[in-house]
């Protein structure tokens, strides 16, 4: 049983143990849940250390038959990209537990249910990145929505029920489209040498162009809804506004990454020709998302939906990076996914603390935090800087790689994307100016600064943002082989420099 399967089962086992704890003793429940999530982080770090850097094939693989009738089996394995995303997930979960210590109190159900749902969600998050069987991926991809649905609906605020419903319906609709595509792919594999759901063999299938386009659309729309691209994004702000800070961190930080991860892992490797035909359209959508998300972020009144719209703009960058298909832009996009995870976590958690202290989530209600709560103000400021991709922080490295890579093939898109960084400066600094600078109004005079627990929660995230900014080598080293394999599968090579020395 490979370390990956044990990593998958650990949080599930944790949820079981939490299930048996007495619901009355909230403190114990929280500590046990935190302990399990830290254990998972430890195991994932051990796995990362024993990951063989220069072999780009899937590692820690394990295959067990599940439904023999359709040759569906429990097949897991990870390459560089999946490893980096799993590491991000396992680091974020304990941070979310620690940061949202009191998030689980005023929900519809008791504390136990909150942590059981989160631990189950963690299993599914790890599972979705490590599944190498398309059916297994699809099952987790759909089932993952339920814990979040109950988390938002049960523990959120504002009209949380409607937000949860909209989120679930939107993603399920995407999921069902993908179901049709998965079935199509399966049937084609039946007629071409044996029914299979294995990613490697599915990418060898030769599919005629019209079917390939339809199947590509089936997959792509589901992923475009998940990582919200421009027209499919309206569920994200409402969900982020109603969910607790911890849930929205996981929702935007990890769950949405499944969308962009899926685009790389499935859309590109199964349907290379369709990818080429649709790339111009997708690039346009990505650029629209960048500018549209930024403009709307500037216009937001509520701090959570501001962060949500910034993420929509960032997802535009990621998709631009993916579909520009040069080694710089693809590596940049994957690295961007990781950085965005930590950046959004920092933003949401600090915003969550500010909202908890001030009691309202309207930006106008804040003011002069710098005087009253300097550490909180500074962490929000640094999180904001990572959102506007300040050099020295990790998001700059990834954003620059994406734009640099995209410029080689789609100069106009890259230029418009670069204009996005001006808008990024605007929406971050406007929020910082309203929330942190200016005089401290009487209403927010009594705000207390971060306590030790919160500092411990946010410290690793900011440390990672800075460290990966200065020394991104360990992450890039792991991602590069995956990019090379994806590029060779898609039959694309880097454009060579014009002036040969």
């Amino acid at each position: 049983m490979s370390i990956l399967t044990s990593l998958l089962l650990l949080p599930l086992f944790g949820a079981l143990v939490v299930g048996f704890l007495p619901a009355s003793n909230a403190k114990l429940v929280k500590q046990v849940a935190l302990a399990f999530s830290l254990l998972v982080t430890l195991v994932s770090i051990v796995m990362a250390l024993s990951f063989d850097r220069n072999n780009s094939a899937m590692q820690f693989t394990e295959v067990r038959t599940w439904i023999s009738a359709f040759n569906i089996n429990y097949a897991v394995g990870i390459d560089g990209m999946a490893l980096v995303l799993i590491l991000m997930t396992t680091i974020l979960v304990p941070v979310v537990f620690l940061a949202g210590w009191s998030e689980s109190e005023n929900g519809r159900w008791n504390v136990k249910v909150f942590y059981i749902l989160l631990l189950i969600l963690e299993t599914m998050m790890i599972g979705v990145f490590s599944a190498t069987d398309v059916f297994l991926f699809y099952v987790i991809f759909e089932a993952m929505l339920l814990p979040v649905y109950f988390l938002i609906g049960g523990y959120g605020s504002g009209e949380r029920a409607a937000a949860a419903m909209k989120f679930l319906l939107y993603s399920l609709f995407g999921g069902l489209l993908m179901l049709a595509a998965v079935i199509g792919l399966y049937i084609i594999s039946v007629n071409q040498g044996g029914a299979t759901f294995d990613i490697a063999r599915l990418s060898q299938l030769s599919i005629d162009s019209t079917t390939q386009n339809w199947l590509f659309l089936g997959f792509f729309i589901a992923f475009a809804i998940k990582a919200p691209l421009w027209p499919f994004h309206t569920w994200l702000p409402t969900a982020a506004k109603s969910a607790t800070a911890g849930t929205s961190t996981l929702l935007l930080g990890v769950l949405d990454k499944v969308g962009t991860y899926g685009m790389i892992r499935f859309c590109m490797s199964f349907f290379p020709d369709a990818t080429k035909t649709f790339t111009p359209a997708i690039i346009t959508l990505a650029v629209i998302s960048i500018l549209y998300g930024a403009f709307l972020a500037i216009g937001q009144k509520d701090i959570n939906s501001l962060i949500a719209f910034t993420s929509i703009s960032h997802f535009g960058f990621i998709t631009l990076g993916i579909f520009a298909l040069t080694s710089q832009s693809l590596t940049g996009a994957i690295f961007y996914m990781v950085n965005h995870g930590f950046g959004t976590a920092a933003l949401f958690l600090t915003a969550g603390w500010m909202i908890k202290r001030r009691g309202s989530s309207q930006i106008a209600d804040f003011g002069g935090l710098q005087r009253v709560a300097p550490v909180l103000a500074w962490s929000f400021f640094i999180a904001g800087l990572s959102a506007l991709a300040l050099p020295g922080l990790s998001s700059f490295v990834s954003e620059f790689l994406v734009l640099l890579g995209a410029f080689a093939k789609y100069p106009v898109a890259a230029i418009l994307g670069t204009l996005g960084i001006i808008l990024a400066a605007l929406y971050v600094l406007l929020a910082v100016q309203r929330a942190i600078h200016g005089e401290t109004p009487a209403s927010s005079a009594g705000i207390s600064d971060l306590n030790l627990r919160e500092k411990i929660a946010i410290a690793p995230v900011i440390a990672i943002l800075v460290l990966l900014g200065f020394y991104p080598k360990p992450a890039l080293e792991v991602i590069n082989p995956t990019t090379q394999t994806i590029m060779t599968n898609a039959g694309v090579s880097d454009p060579v420099a014009k002036v040969v020395k």
Partner: protein
């Protein structure tokens, strides 16, 4: 290229100290500022040591490099965190750390009453670290990190007293304007990478000869946009005036001596791009000329002493940018003017600071008058700076500015004459507004309001001013004796043609013309400001009214960018709700409506159910009958 190991200290020391001071918080309040000043001084000392070590080395071995670690390596993009200290960057290192240390010392006294002095010194050290990274980076990407780091530091320093919303807005405006410039720099890097496959200066230099003219012009234009953003040149110059919201030492260090000159450094460093594309050089010259006049005109009408000096900085940098556009020989003179300007402008800003310090933060010059009696040392140092900026022979300004006017004339043809006369006109206007400042502040009659009782600033403040005054006196002569600076920079900017070739006008004639124009300017100013009303008069020439409003630059930006931007955002916010979300809700609504209609068909009568069945059968029969026909 000698490999040296102590370049990293230039950046590591100030960065470490700024991080330490910020993290330690209140605990470091007592010794924070001393520690920061010492760190800045030690960086200066290392710089001097390196300078003499460089002089010791001959020819090629002068430049020193150090590879810290491999920063980004993806596919064909290999970027190391490498540092390069060559003749050009040593000038900047010395200027930054030297003037920086003096300003650190000055700030100890100036900020003594401020509760957050430790945080101020932390930001200053952060700025020094970022600026040194900018000048020491060996590739455009490393330069870019320093470039935005400096932008961040200036944002923090301008917005130091951010409890006042106006100051916070000024800080934001500065950062966003810089960001527009940074777009230019990143695009230049992208074009360079697609053209040459590398982003290091050496690599780009090598490839520049083979690249197409269009690409080079594009890179040049983008670099110019970046320089305009950072050095507050036309069209991105609106933020410099508001940047005066920061404490005066900040304006002295950042908005006079160091940061605003980053643009000049960038263009000088990428001289191989500009030399290879004349169109780019023409653009540089045009931007320089426009800003030169633009700054000078604004300077004539500003009553706030710091805004007047800021406008003068803008126009002096216009001179430098113009010089860099005049081909290889211009680079050296631009750097020379940059260094001399660093001395006398920083000196004047510190002088203004000590005047404000004395007049408990009164900035309106119409409230000053006859301060020379009360603050003799400030008056003296400010006066020396004044003489230097005018270009009076023995002082620094004469050597650097005249050389620029000369090269402007020498660029030949109508362009030569046009540029030469613009620079001369600029010198005249500079003389006018600088004399106006001198007269309003130190000479003339006393116009203080009751509460003000000015006094001389303490030793810690006037000592750096004196040092800078000495610099503004001697630096011009030293740098020019035997064209020391030109030969020193020769390997970097290969200004090897004899710059004495074909003069349009002999140098002596040019200097005379310049001096006469300056004299005229001084005379006009002295005559005009014999009696100064305390309240700014209303009926003034149209040009002065315009100049008071910074030639409507802000209203232009608001009209063209800000308001349409806000309207677009508001428009997008409700279209997003109505259209995109609307579509989703429409689908829900349609499903709802059709569901309720379907419900009504079920009306409960058995006979209607039976009728539906019969209709179903008839439909089937009809369909099958048609199919089989």
């Amino acid at each position: 290229m000698t490999i040296s190991t102590n370049l990293v200290y230039f950046i590591a020391l100030p960065l470490f100290s700024s991080g330490l001071l910020l993290l330690l918080g209140r605990k470091a309040d007592k010794w924070g500022h001393i520690f920061a000043t010492l760190v800045s001084a030690s960086v200066f000392i290392i710089g001097v040591i390196e300078f003499f070590a460089m002089q010791g080395r001959e020819g090629e071995a002068r430049a020193a490099t150090q590879k810290l670690f491999e920063w980004i390596s993806v596919g064909s993009l290999q970027v190391d965190a490498g540092l390069l200290l060559d003749q050009l960057s040593i000038c900047f290192v010395l200027l930054i750390s030297g003037v920086g240390t003096l300003i650190h010392i000055y700030s100890i006294a100036y900020m003594s009453h401020d509760r957050d002095r430790r945080r101020f010194f932390a930001y200053l050290n952060l700025f020094i670290a970022a600026m040194l990274l900018l000048v020491l980076g060996d590739s455009y990407l490393n330069l870019y990190v320093g470039w935005e780091g400096v932008g961040l530091a200036s944002y923090l320093l301008i917005g130091f007293w951010n409890e006042k919303p106006a100051y916070a807005a000024a800080a934001k405006k500065a950062f966003v304007a810089n960001r527009v410039g940074d777009v230019g720099l990143s695009l230049a890097i992208m074009i360079a990478f697609t053209q040459f496959g590398t982003v290091t200066f050496a690599g780009v230099k090598e490839g520049a000869s083979g690249a197409s003219a269009g690409a080079l012009t594009a890179i040049g234009a983008m670099l110019l946009l970046a320089a305009a953003g950072k050095s507050a040149q036309f069209p991105l110059q609106s933020w410099l005036g508001d940047a005066m919201a920061g404490p005066t030492p900040v304006s002295a260090l950042i908005h006079a001596a160091t940061m605003v000159t980053a643009g000049v450094y960038l263009i000088t460093r990428s001289n191989f791009i500009f030399d290879a594309s004349p169109t780019a050089q023409l653009m540089v010259v045009i931007v320089g000329a426009i800003t030169l006049l633009f700054g000078a005109l604004i300077g004539t009408a500003k009553d706030d002493i710091k805004k007047a000096l800021a406008a003068s900085t803008m126009s002096q940098i216009g001179y430098m940018i113009l010089a860099t556009g005049l081909g290889p020989v211009g680079y050296a003179f631009a750097i020379m003017h940059l260094i001399t300007h660093g001395f006398f402008k920083a000196g004047m800003f510190l002088g203004a600071g000590s005047v404000m310090h004395g007049m408990n933060d009164e900035v309106n010059m119409r409230r000053y008058g006859a301060l020379r009696k009360v603050m003799p040392i400030t008056a003296a140092t400010f006066g020396l700076g004044y003489l230097a900026i005018l270009g009076v022979p023995p002082f620094a300004g004469f050597y650097s500015k005249d050389k620029i006017i000369e090269t402007a004339f020498d660029s030949g043809g109508i362009q030569g004459i046009l540029l030469g006369s613009i620079t001369l006109l600029g010198a005249g206007i500079t003389a006018f507004y600088m004399t106006r400042v001198m007269v309003l502040t130190f000479i003339g009659t006393k116009r203080w309001d009751e509460k003000a009782h000015p006094h001389e600033s303490p030793f810690l403040m006037w000592a750096p001013m004196a040092a800078l005054a000495v610099g503004s006196v001697a630096s011009g002569f030293l740098l020019n004796s035997g064209s020391a600076l030109v030969n020193w920079l020769q390997p970097v900017v290969n200004a090897n043609q004899e710059y004495h070739s074909g003069h349009l006008l002999p140098p002596i004639v040019v200097s005379i013309m310049a001096l006469t124009v300056v004299a005229i300017g001084v005379a006009i100013a002295v005559l005009k400001y014999r009696t100064v009303p305390v309240v700014a008069p209303e009926n003034v020439l149209g040009i002065t009214k315009a100049a008071r409003k910074d030639l409507y630059q802000d209203s232009f930006n608001e009209a063209v960018f800000m308001r349409p931007g806000q309207k677009l955002t508001a428009g997008l916010v409700n279209t997003d709700y109505k259209v995109v979300d609307g579509l989703v809700r429409l689908v829900g609504w349609v499903v709802q409506i059709s569901a309720s209609n379907l419900r009504n068909i079920q009306n409960g009568y058995v006979r209607s159910y039976a009728l539906i069945m019969v209709l179903g059968v008839i439909a089937l029969i009809a369909a099958v009958w048609m199919v089989t026909l």
